[in-house]
């Protein structure tokens, strides 16, 4: 559990603030078109978002080694009732041959890619964050509700094969991926409360709590789990220039070997245990009087366990305007199966400045953030290179005292032929 706290802190305090438009490649299939060249593409993305703490404060926290109470107060002043956060870092290197017609026959798209992702997300009640920062002394004599909450950490590498098929001339793109898990931790608190007797004579905990952690080894890319996922998407015209695409990606399961599974669903009075903060509950249970509390308050098992992979589901609408500059308007609803992520709704446009340069501004609400203003930039460089940059929340960079973090994705495509 301490690791989750550390990662939460890392998310909130340490990582560079980048902005990006969420561009997980869900809808890649377009209407059947003329031959297109295969290409190599690299996508690199990193970023952090939350729903309350500004980038500027996070930057300030980065630069200090020790948080005084005033720092904590400042931090907490920006946290609402609930803190949601997400950090993601990863890359994807792919080769893709788009579909096309050749001499009157349809050639299906085919592609391969390898990707690596590190994801750490969560949603914590404000009181729980306060417990983590201040300890329980300030809550002595009070019953503090600390749930619900959840956090999870994923680190895995996948190898994906992409192709497509058609049903009644409607093309569907599908992906099949095999994944190797390197690390996983999940923490779920459906509900919970803690009461500290004013003199510390006892702690009353009422928790519906689960915790899973894969075995960790020294090598960060070690083989701790194995899984598989699929993706499926399609795009069709609602009317002329009105396109709707739907899809799901990386929906699968991962089996983790040699993990620890802790479950607690009861209330219990602790009269001889220390809780320096609630995040340490697992470590405290396991290291001190673990035998005493096990089975009475929690169950602890060792062994393999299976999780659903952090998949994405998306619906996107595009209205092609085909003006000189304004090429289209679009709207999108996206869901990611990650703790702290709420469905994200966005609207945007595609504006071409020239044959080689275009931008994609967007306005969104949801995800790990609140209201965000995103911007994408696409450029064709030389004959074979295409470059794009997407920032999910531009104010996090342009106005760091207001923006609450961003993801940044950069893509680089090289046309093979």
């Amino acid at each position: 559990m301490r690791k989750i706290l550390a990662l939460v802190a890392a998310v909130m305090l340490q990582l560079p603030l980048l902005a990006q438009h969420d561009t997980t490649d869900v809808i890649g299939t377009k209407a059947v078109r003329a031959r297109q060249n295969p290409y190599l593409e690299l996508k690199v993305m990193a970023g952090v978002e939350n729903n309350g703490i500004s980038s500027l404060k996070l930057l300030n926290f980065i630069q200090t080694d020790f948080l005084e109470n005033s720092d904590k107060d400042e931090l907490m002043s920006e946290v609402g009732d609930r803190l949601r956060f997400g950090y993601e870092q990863g890359f994807e290197l792919s080769y893709y041959q788009p579909s096309f017609y050749s001499l009157g026959s349809y050639v299906k798209a085919t592609g391969f890619s390898i990707y690596n992702r590190f994801i750490n997300t969560g949603q914590l009640e404000k009181k729980l964050v306060e417990l983590g920062l201040y300890g329980n002394k300030r809550f002595a004599g009070q019953t503090v509700d600390i749930g619900p909450g959840a956090a999870e950490l994923w680190y895995y590498t996948g190898l994906k094969y992409s192709s497509e098929f058609t049903i009644d001339s409607l093309p569907f793109r599908f992906d099949v991926a095999l994944m190797i898990g390197h690390a996983h931790t999940s923490y779920g608190l459906k509900e919970g409360s803690i009461y500290t007797e004013p003199d510390g004579a006892y702690l009353d905990l009422d928790l519906n709590y689960s915790y899973r952690e894969s075995m960790t080894e020294g090598q960060s890319l070690s083989f701790q789990g194995f899984g598989a996922s699929i993706g499926l998407s399609t795009e069709f015209e609602l009317a002329k220039d009105h396109l709707l695409s739907v899809g799901v990606s990386e929906l699968g399961i991962m089996n983790w070997r040699d993990g620890q599974i802790l479950e607690a669903d009861s209330n219990f009075r602790f009269e001889g245990i220390t809780f320096d903060n609630i995040f340490d509950i697992t470590d405290s249970l396991l290291t001190y009087n673990g035998d005493l509390y096990e089975d009475r308050f929690f169950t602890l098992e060792s062994g393999e366990y299976t999780t659903i992979t952090p998949f994405t589901a998306q619906v996107r609408y595009v209205y092609n305007i085909r003006k000189k500059w304004l090429k289209n308007l679009n709207a999108e609803i996206r869901y990611r199966h990650l703790a702290g992520y709420i469905p994200k709704t966005s609207v945007g446009a595609l504006i071409n400045f020239s044959d080689r340069h275009s931008i994609e501004p967007s306005l969104a609400y949801g995800g790990f953030n609140a209201l965000t203003l995103g911007l994408g930039y696409n450029a064709r460089v030389f004959k074979r290179w295409t470059w794009n940059l997407n920032i999910s929340n531009l104010p996090a960079i342009a106005a760091p005292g207001w923006g609450t973090g961003t993801f940044v994705e950069m893509g680089l495509r090289f046309s093979v032929i």
């Binding site: 550390a6 690199v44 290197l93 680190y155 510390g200 702690l203 001889g272």
Partner: protein
């Protein structure tokens, strides 16, 4: 070739590699540090009187009032009548001259017919008239005739220091024999053993002759009897019945032999046959029976004799059930020019040894007898013996100890001054106190099967500070009689005769003796066995394991005033189990007291580290207040209070190294000298909590 696209391709290609490397790394999760303030329970402890004093030392009255009941052995001593070990050994050396070679007889006949065959004409006449009455004519010069006598079935040769040869000649002929010259000689060496002339042997008469065999004379197994000359006057003209089977019988007896050496067939005989009385020395008792606790019977024999010797060791009056204490060993024949040796032993545990002598003995006590037998069994084989042959035999009982004895124990006086440790007060009553009442009983248990009179001469208590207090008591130096113990099953602990002497505040200064918190008590006691026994009672008994024991039983109702009563309770508290990161920065500890004791107290925390190393003491001036008591001194409501302990930098170091915490509680009566009462439901709950500042990320 267009160099510009190539350049940009190179730049972008490098960028790809850099981005790839960046994005593929797991992020560093190092975080800033901050302090959290946590209030947390650490240890719960309940102190009860029973935590300090074992439940077995506490009694609860009907109203719940606790009393300390303490029983300690003051003295324990045994009579020394049968404490000495017994060893009884026998030594025998058997030489050859004590060996019986027996009496050997060689017999031979000379018939009338034999003689007639070599007597010429008179012989023919005798033969012709066999069966008739006829006058036998006289004739002279008959002989010499040699008759071999074979004794090799008894011996081949014997060289004698002493012995006798007896020659017996019986005239079975019907005529007188005159001028009989005969001799006996060894057949091989020709040595003449005896030579004699007999003037006349009448018909039917017996002539005896003997010679002493000494000076190393050797007798061979084959001897010749030589009839050198025989004359006869015949039947002197009177007819006699002639029967040619009538014979002169010559028998040679050798006896009373003291051999120097011999090659002989020896008869079965005892080499050793000794019965010896052994006594168990006791200056006081007259014992008729003892039970052996441990000991060994053994035999160690060495022989140069060319024959097996059977030894038997027997203590007829030592029995174990129906089994008599004995053992038999066979010493094998010695090799030529060598010796044979045999050692054997047996345990003789739990034998009853009758100490009244042999059957028929009257009035004997403390005595038993032992028989040792050494025997050669006749094997029919020739055995070589010489005067140098010997048997060395050692037998006996070794290291015999006794478990119990029966008989008259005699009169004895036991004087004992013994000091015993009293530990009940040390752990509990560390301060000064004043008991409302103390009851002490001195119990004396007599496990001896004889009447015992005792006198307590002095009782003295001492504490660790060197303070002593003597007991004054109205019964001091008075004589008290204790009946004999009763034996149950032999070998089990007897039922003792009992004497209880009660002491209290009315007949002694007992409270003063105990209020110095003695760590030791000394008792000077004199015991008299059979002091008033006029006639010896042989049904008395004595067990070596059980003698006379004196106990002190103390009953102290917990109605007292006191100061500095020390209670300690130890709790395992491994700080690093709670905080493996050792993140403690400071704060304070609190002891929350819920006091059901009628005394107030102060609590110090003693911190111990690995291997019970003392780290330091956290004192507190805060008082854990006494429970609320009623006018009878009984707690009717508990009181909650707390003591604080600030953790300075030194204390933080101690806490981080702590593996064990001791609550060191000193209780005092709140309103001295008012007395309060401890009841079975009194306790002190102590809860150690931490108001701690911990630094994350360490």
């Amino acid at each position: 070739m267009n160099s510009k696209p190539f350049f940009w391709n190179l730049i972008f290609g490098g960028l790809v590699i850099c981005l790839f490397a960046f994005a593929g790394c797991r992020p560093d999760t190092s975080t800033p540090k901050w302090d959290v303030e946590t209030v947390t329970p650490l240890i719960n402890s309940r102190l009860e009187v029973s935590d300090i004093i074992p439940d077995t030392s506490l009694t609860v009255a009907n109203d719940g009032l606790l009393s300390l009941v303490y029983r300690s052995k003051l003295a324990d001593f045994n009579l020394d009548q049968i404490n000495d070990q017994l060893s009884s050994e026998f030594f025998n050396t058997v030489k050859l001259q004590t060996i019986d070679l027996g009496t050997r007889v060689i017999s031979n006949d000379l018939s009338l017919g034999q003689m007639a065959n070599s007597a010429g004409v008179p012989g023919l006449f005798i033969i012709q008239n066999n069966g008739n009455n006829a006058v036998i004519p006289g004739f002279n010069g008959l002989g010499p005739e040699t008759f071999p006598a074979d004794a090799t079935q008894f011996f081949e040769s014997i060289t004698l220091n002493d012995g006798w040869m007896v020659v017996r000649i019986q005239n079975g002929w019907p005529i007188e024999l005159t001028n009989v010259d005969y001799r006996l000689e060894n057949q091989v060496s020709g040595t003449i053993l005896i030579q004699s002339n007999i003037p006349s042997i009448m018909p039917g008469a017996v002539h005896l002759d003997s010679v002493q065999l000494n000076n190393g004379i050797t007798i061979e197994g084959k001897i010749n009897a030589v009839l050198q000359n025989l004359d006869t006057p015949g039947s002197n003209g009177a007819p006699v019945l002639i029967d040619t089977t009538d014979a002169i019988n010559i028998s040679i007896t050798i006896k009373d032999l003291v051999p120097q050496s011999a090659t002989a067939i020896f008869p079965a005989q005892n080499l050793v046959d000794e019965t010896t009385y052994e006594s168990f020395e006791s200056s006081k008792g007259q014992f008729r029976l003892m039970n052996i606790r441990s000991g060994t019977a053994y035999m160690d024999a060495t022989s140069t004799i060319d024959g097996a010797i059977t030894f038997e060791y027997l203590v007829p009056n030592a029995t174990k059930g129906s089994q008599v204490l004995s053992f038999k060993e066979i010493l094998p024949p010695a090799p030529y020019m060598g010796s044979s040796q045999k050692y054997a032993e047996i345990d003789i545990v739990d034998y009853d040894l009758l100490l009244t002598g042999q059957p028929g003995d009257v009035g004997l006590y403390n005595m038993f007898y032992v028989t040792v037998l050494g025997r050669i069994d006749s094997t029919g084989q020739l055995i070589n013996l010489s005067l140098d042959d010997s048997v060395y035999l050692r037998t006996g009982l070794v290291d015999v100890t006794f478990a119990r004895a029966y008989g008259y124990l005699g009169e004895d006086t036991i004087q004992s001054t013994e000091t015993t440790t009293v530990d009940v007060f040390n752990d509990f009553l560390d301060g000064a106190f004043d008991f409302d009442d103390v009851i002490v009983t001195i119990d004396i248990e007599n496990y001896i099967g004889a009447p015992l009179d005792v006198r307590v001469n002095n009782v003295n208590s001492s504490n660790d500070d060197g303070v002593s207090k003597g007991l004054t008591w109205t019964q001091m130096a008075s004589t008290h009689s204790i009946p004999p113990a009763q034996e149950n099953q032999p070998g089990t602990k007897p039922t003792p005769g009992m004497l209880s002497l009660g002491l209290d505040k009315n007949n002694s200064n007992l409270d003063e003796v105990l209020e110095i918190k003695p760590s030791s008590m000394a008792i000077d006691l004199t015991g008299y066995i059979n002091e008033n026994t006029t006639t010896p009672d042989y049904n008395q008994f004595l067990y070596t394991d059980y003698g006379i024991s004196a106990f002190m039983s103390v009953e102290v109702p917990f109605h007292l005033s006191a100061s500095g009563i020390n209670l300690r309770d130890t709790s395992i508290f491994v700080y690093t189990d709670l905080d493996p990161g050792n993140r403690l920065q400071g704060g304070e500890l609190k002891v929350l007291g819920d006091n059901h004791f009628p005394m107030e107290g102060k609590v110090d925390l003693l911190l111990f580290g690995a291997d019970s190393a003392f780290l330091g003491r956290l004192p507190s001036t805060d008082v854990i207040e006494a429970g609320k008591v009623n006018s009878d001194g009984r707690v009717i409501e508990s009181t909650q209070s707390q003591a604080s302990y600030v953790l300075d930098s030194e204390a933080v170091k101690w806490i981080k190294a702590t593996t064990m915490i001791v609550f060191d509680v000193h209780l005092n009566t709140a309103n001295l000298p008012e007395k309060v009462k401890f009841y079975h439901d009194n306790f002190l709950d102590l809860k150690l909590t931490g108001d701690l500042t911990l630094r994350t990320g360490q």
